[in-house]
C-alpha cells in the first residue's frame, strides 16, 4: 500500500506545484490546496499504514495488538485545519486584488 500511496503523493505534489506556478489566481489557490493535501498524505504514509485498525483503546481499556500510529494523525489534523485557514485567507486576498486594483493574474502584481 505504501508503495502506491508514495507514487500518489508524488503525483499530488507535482500537480500542486504545477498549479502553484500558474498565472491564474484560482488555479494557484487550487495548487495550494493540493499541496496541503499532499503534505498530509505524505506524513500519513511516512507514519506507515495499518489497515482498518484505528488508534483506539479497546472497550475494556486494554491496548489492541495492531493499530495505526496516532501521532501522524494528530499532526495531520492540526495541519488540515490550519491549511483551511490559509486557503480561505489566500482566496479572499486574491478576490480583493481582483475587486479593487483589478488584478486578475499573478504577473499583474508586478505593476
Amino acid at each position: 500500500m505504501e508503495f502506491f500511496l508514495s507514487i500518489f503523493v508524488g503525483l499530488l505534489f507535482a500537480a500542486g506545484i504545477y498549479l502553484l506556478l500558474h498565472r491564474d489566481f484560482v488555479k494557484l489557490v487550487i495548487g495550494i490546496v493540493i499541496i496541503g493535501n499532499a503534505t498530509a498524505l505524505f506524513i500519513f504514509v511516512a507514519g506507515r499504514i495499518v489497515r482498518q485498525a484505528g488508534p483506539f483503546i479497546k472497550e475494556d481499556g486494554s491496548v489492541p495488538e495492531s493499530f495505526a500510529d496516532p501521532v501522524p494523525q494528530a499532526l495531520i489534523l492540526t495541519a488540515l485545519v490550519i491549511g483551511f485557514g490559509i486557503q480561505a485567507f489566500a482566496l479572499l486576498l486574491f478576490k480583493k486584488l481582483y475587486d479593487v486594483p483589478k488584478i486578475h493574474q499573478v504577473d499583474d502584481l508586478k505593476k
Binding site: M1, F3, F4, S6, I7, F8, G10, L12, A14, A15, I17, Y18, L19, L21, H22, R23, F25, V26, K27, V29, I30, I34, N37, A40, L41, F42, F44, A46, G47, R48, I49, R51, Q52, G54, P55, F56, I57, G61, V63, D69, P70, V71, Q73, I76, L77, L80, V81, I82, F84, Q87, A88, F89, L91, L92, K96, Y98, H104, V106, L109, K110
Partner: protein, 765 residues
C-alpha cells in the same frame, strides 16, 4: 608595548576633542606620541639590548588561541623606530599642510589609528593579532586615501587600494591557516622551530603562494602594483607616510618575518627574486615616464620595494643586510622627497614637472636644497646613506648564488634609472625652461621645511657615519638566522667591483637624462600600458558588477511565479543532490500490495486530478478538486484513520463551498499557460514529485520504531481516560499545541474579516 598600542588607539579617538581645544596646533601636539615612542624604544634598546627579544602577552580569547601577544626583536625594533621616527616628522609636516583643511580632526584621528595599526603589526606575535592589525592598516589607509571623498578619483583609488590589499589579506589568512594546520602553532616567534616541517610539507607551495600573495599586494609588487600610484589621491603627508615607512613596508616586513620560517627554498627564491626584479624594472621605467611629481615618486617606491623583495628573496647574508639598509635609506629619502613634492604642489599649485616655472629654485631655494639632498641619496651618490645601501646591494647581486649576471644587469639598469630620476627631480623640477604655473610662488613657512630637513639630514648623517646603524641592522638580521655575523657598515669600501658598477650606472644615468632632454622625450603611455594590470583590475571590477546586475535581473524578476520557480528549482537541486548522495533509491517490495477499492479510488482520483490541472473552466477544476479530496478522505478511512477521514471530508467540503461563494464574482475564464511555461513547469513539478516519491520509498524502506506510539497507547486510557488516542493527543497531551492552532485559525479569521470589510470602505491599496 601593549599599553603603548592601546594608548595610541584611545588617543586617536580623542583627536577630534583635542582639535576642539587646540585647533590647528593639534598636529604638533600629536607628534609627541610617535616622538615619545621613538625615544622610549630607542632608550629601552640602548639600555637593555641583551634582554632582547622582549615579550608581552594579554589573553584575549584563549579558546581561539587569540592573544594580544607582542614581541620585540631586532627586526620589529627597526620597523618600530622607522614608523615612529618618520611618523613624528609626518605629524609636524601635516600640521602645516593640513592647516585649514576640512575634516582636520578626522584626518588626524585616522592617521593616528593607522600608525597604531602599523606599530601593532610589527609588534604582534600571534598571527591572528597580526592579521587584525594587517586588515586595520588596509581599512585606515582606505580612509586616508579616500580622505578627499568629494573627488571621484580619490574614492576610486581608495576602493582600488582596499580591494587589492584586502584580497591579499584573504590570501594571507589562507596561508596562515595552512601553516597552523601543518604546525598547530599560532605564535610567529615559535614558528621558526617548525621550518623543516613546513618546508617538507605537501602544503608548502600553497602556503608560500598565499603568504607571498598577501605580501605582494600590500607591497605593490608586479602585477599588483597599480593601486599604489593611484593612492596618490591621498593628501601628501599620507603618501609620504604610506610610502616611506608604513603600509607598503608591511608586506616587506612580513616577508622578512617569514623568511626564517618558510624562506630560503628554491621556490621562495625563484618567486621573490623574479617578482622583485620585475617590479624593480617596471617601477623604474614607469617613474621615468611620469611627468607628475607624486606619480614619479610612487613608481620609484614600487621599484624600491622590488629591490627589497629581491634582497629578501636571495636571503644571503649580504642580501639581508643590503635589504635592511635599503629599507632605512628608502624611508629617509622617500619621506623627504614626498614632503617636498607636497610643498611644491601646495605652493606652486601643480605637481606636473613640465608646468613648473623656470626659476623655481630662486623662489623656493630651501626646497631645492632639500630635494637635492634627498635625491642624491635616492640616486645612490656618496656620501649619502643611499650610496651605502646601494653599494651593499651591488655586493649582494655580485655574490648572488644564482643568476648573478642577470641580477647585476637588472640592478645596474635600475640604478641608471634612479640616477636619471635624481636629475629629473633636482634639475628638471627647478630649472625647467618653460612653465605656466604660479607666477607668484612663495616658499612657505619655515615649519613646513622642518620635517623634511630632519629626514634629509638624517640621510646625510647616516651616510657619513653608517657604522652607527651597524648594531641595529645586526640585531634585525639576527631574525633571519641565528648565526648571521655582525656587519659593520662603511661609506668607503675601497675600489671594488661594486663601486665600478655604481659609477657605471651614474654615467649611464647621466647619459639617459641627457638623451631625455636632448630628444625631448615626452612622457607617454607606451607598450607597458597595454599589459598594465590596472586594466585587468578594471575589467574584473566591472565584470563582477555586471554579473551581479545580470543575476539580479534574472532572479529578481519581480514576477511572483519566478521567485517560486527559482526557490523550487533550488530545492529540487539541493534536496535531490543530498538524497542521491546520502540515501539513494531504495524500495521496500513488501509494501507493493493494494486492495481493489483503493486501486479504483486512486484511478478516479488521478483522473480528477488531471482534469483539475488542465480544465479551462474554474468551476470544473474546483469540482474535480473536491473529487480528489473525497478520494483522499476514503483512503484515510480505509487506512485506520477515521478521524482524519471525517475532518478531511469536512474541510474539503468547506473549501469548495468558500470557493464557490467567491468564484462567481471572479472572471470565468482561466488565463492559460504558454507552451514553454507548460514544459518548464511540468519539468520542475514532475521533478519534485518524483523526488518526493523516492523519499517516501526510502522512508518506508526501514521498519518504523516509534516510542511515541507505544507511549500514547499505554497512557491515553490510564492517564487521560480517553479511548481515542488521536483525540487524547489533541485535547490532552498536546493541548497547548491545539491552543496555538486555534489562535492561528482565529488570526486567519480576523484577516478574512478584515479583507471582507475592506472592500466596503473601498479604499485603494
Amino acid at each position: 608595548m601593549i599599553v603603548c598600542i592601546f594608548t595610541i588607539v584611545i588617543l586617536s579617538l580623542a583627536v577630534p576633542l583635542l582639535y576642539k581645544v587646540f585647533g590647528s596646533k593639534t598636529a604638533y601636539l600629536l607628534a609627541i606620541i610617535p616622538a615619545v615612542i621613538f625615544t622610549w624604544f630607542l632608550y629601552q634598546y640602548l639600555q637593555f639590548s641583551p634582554a632582547f627579544p622582549l615579550q608581552e602577552s594579554l589573553t584575549w580569547n584563549p579558546y581561539f588561541n587569540l592573544n594580544f601577544s607582542f614581541y620585540l626583536d631586532g627586526l620589529s625594533l627597526l620597523f618600530l623606530l622607522l614608523i615612529s621616527g618618520i611618523g613624528a616628522m609626518i605629524y609636524v609636516y601635516a600640521g602645516y599642510y593640513m592647516k585649514g583643511k576640512a575634516y582636520y580632526g578626522r584626518f588626524f584621528m585616522i592617521l593616528t589609528l593607522f600608525m597604531a595599526a602599523m606599530l601593532g603589526l610589527v609588534l604582534a606575535n600571534n598571527w591572528l593579532t597580526v592579521l587584525v592589525f594587517w586588515e586595520l592598516t588596509s581599512i585606515t589607509s582606505f580612509l586616508l586615501i579616500g580622505y578627499e571623498h568629494e573627488k571621484k578619483k580619490a574614492r576610486y583609488a581608495a576602493w582600488q587600494g582596499l580591494l587589492v590589499t584586502s584580497f591579499g589579506g584573504l590570501a594571507l589568512l589562507a596561508g596562515l591557516v595552512l601553516i597552523t594546520i601543518v604546525t598547530g602553532e599560532y605564535t610567529i616567534s615559535e614558528l621558526s622551530n617548525f621550518s623543516d616541517t613546513l618546508q617538507s610539507s605537501t602544503l608548502y607551495l600553497p602556503i608560500l603562494l598565499c603568504v607571498a600573495l598577501g605580501a605582494f599586494t600590500k607591497s605593490a609588487q608586479v602585477p599588483f602594483h597599480f593601486w599604489l600610484p593611484n593612492a596618490m589621491a591621498a593628501p601628501t603627508p599620507v603618501s609620504a607616510f604610506l610610502h616611506s615607512a608604513t603600509m607598503v613596508k608591511a608586506g616587506i616586513y612580513f616577508l622578512a618575518r617569514f623568511s626564517p620560517i618558510i624562506g630560503n627554498t628554491i621556490e621562495w627564491q625563484i618567486l621573490l627574486c623574479a617578482t622583485g626584479g620585475l617590479t624593480m624594472l617596471t617601477g623604474a621605467i614607469m617613474a621615468f615616464k611620469s611627468d607628475n611629481l607624486k606619480k614619479l615618486l610612487a613608481y620609484s617606491t614600487i621599484s624600491a620595494l622590488g629591490i627589497m623583495v629581491l634582497s629578501f628573496g636571495l636571503g644571503t647574508e649580504a642580501a639581508v643586510y643590503a635589504g635592511l639598509a635599503y629599507i632605512i635609506a628608502h624611508a629617509l629619502y622617500k619621506s623627504t622627497l614626498f614632503m617636498l613634492a607636497g610643498i611644491i604642489d601646495k605652493q606652486a599649485g601643480t605637481k606636473k614637472i613640465s608646468e613648473l616655472p623656470r626659476n623655481l629654485y630662486k623662489k623656493m631655494p630651501a626646497a631645492f636644497i632639500l630635494v637635492t639632498l634627498a635625491a642624491l641619496s635616492f640616486g645612490g651618490i656618496a656620501p649619502f646613506f643611499g650610496f651605502v645601501a646601494k653599494e651593499m646591494l651591488m655586493e649582494m647581486v655580485l655574490h648572488a648564488p644564482f643568476f648573478s649576471s642577470i641580477l647585476v644587469i637588472v640592478m645596474v639598469l635600475t640604478g641608471t634609472f634612479f640616477v636619471t630620476l635624481l636629475l629629473i627631480l633636482a634639475h628638471s623640477t627647478f630649472f625647467k625652461k618653460k612653465g605656466k604655473a604660479g607666477r607668484n610662488i612663495i616658499a612657505g613657512g619655515t615649519i613646513f621645511y622642518l620635517a623634511p630637513l630632519v629626514t634629509a639630514l638624517a640621510g646625510l648623517y647616516f651616510g657619513l657615519f653608517p657604522d652607527q646603524l651597524s648594531e641595529l641592522l645586526s640585531n634585525a638580521a639576527a631574525t633571519f638566522a641565528n648565526n648571521i655575523p655582525e656587519k659593520h657598515l662603511a661609506l668607503w669600501h675601497g675600489w671594488n667591483m661594486a663601486l665600478a658598477l655604481s659609477i657605471l650606472s651614474i654615467i649611464a644615468g647621466l647619459g639617459l637624462y641627457w638623451a631625455k632632454i636632448a630628444f625631448n622625450w615626452k612622457p607617454k603611455a607606451g607598450f607597458l600600458s597595454l599589459i598594465y594590470p590596472s586594466n585587468i583590475y578594471q575589467y574584473l571590477f566591472n565584470g563582477v558588477i555586471k554579473l551581479g546586475e545580470w543575476q539580479t535581473r534574472k532572479i529578481q524578476t519581480g514576477y511572483l511565479r519566478y521567485y517560486a520557480m527559482f526557490t523550487l528549482f533550488t530545492i529540487l537541486l539541493l534536496a535531490g543532490f543530498t538524497f542521491f548522495y546520502k540515501a539513494g533509491i531504495r524500495i521496500n517490495t513488501s509494501t507493493i500490495d493494494v486492495y481493489l477499492i483503493d486501486l479504483i479510488l486512486g484511478i478516479i482520483a488521478l483522473l480528477a486530478l488531471a482534469y483539475t490541472l488542465f480544465s479551462p473552466s474554474k468551476i470544473d477544476s474546483l469540482l474535480s478538486l473536491s473529487i480528489v479530496g473525497i478520494a483522499i478522505s476514503i483512503i484515510f478511512f480505509t487506512s485506520g484513520a477515521p478521524d482524519l477521514a471525517i475532518t478531511f471530508f469536512l474541510i474539503d467540503t468547506l473549501t469548495v463551498t468558500v470557493f464557490v461563494l467567491i468564484l462567481h464574482k471572479l472572471p470565468k475564464k482561466i488565463i492559460p499557460k504558454t507552451t514553454i511555461a507548460r514544459y518548464r513547469d511540468a519539468f520542475i513539478s514532475l521533478g519534485i514529485g518524483l523526488l518526493i516519491t523516492l523519499i517516501l520509498f526510502s522512508i518506508t524502506y526501514d521498519p518504523l520504531t516509534s516510542r511515541l506510539k507505544q507511549f500514547y497507547a499505554e497512557n491515553s486510557y490510564n492517564i487521560a481516560k480517553g479511548k481515542n488516542m488521536v483525540n487524547v493527543i489533541l485535547v490532552d497531551f498536546r493541548v497547548l499545541d491545539t491552543f496555538g492552532e486555534i489562535t492561528v485559525l482565529a488570526i486567519g479569521a480576523l484577516g478574512v474579516f478584515a479583507l471582507v470589510n475592506y472592500s466596503k470602505k473601498n479604499t485603494i491599496l
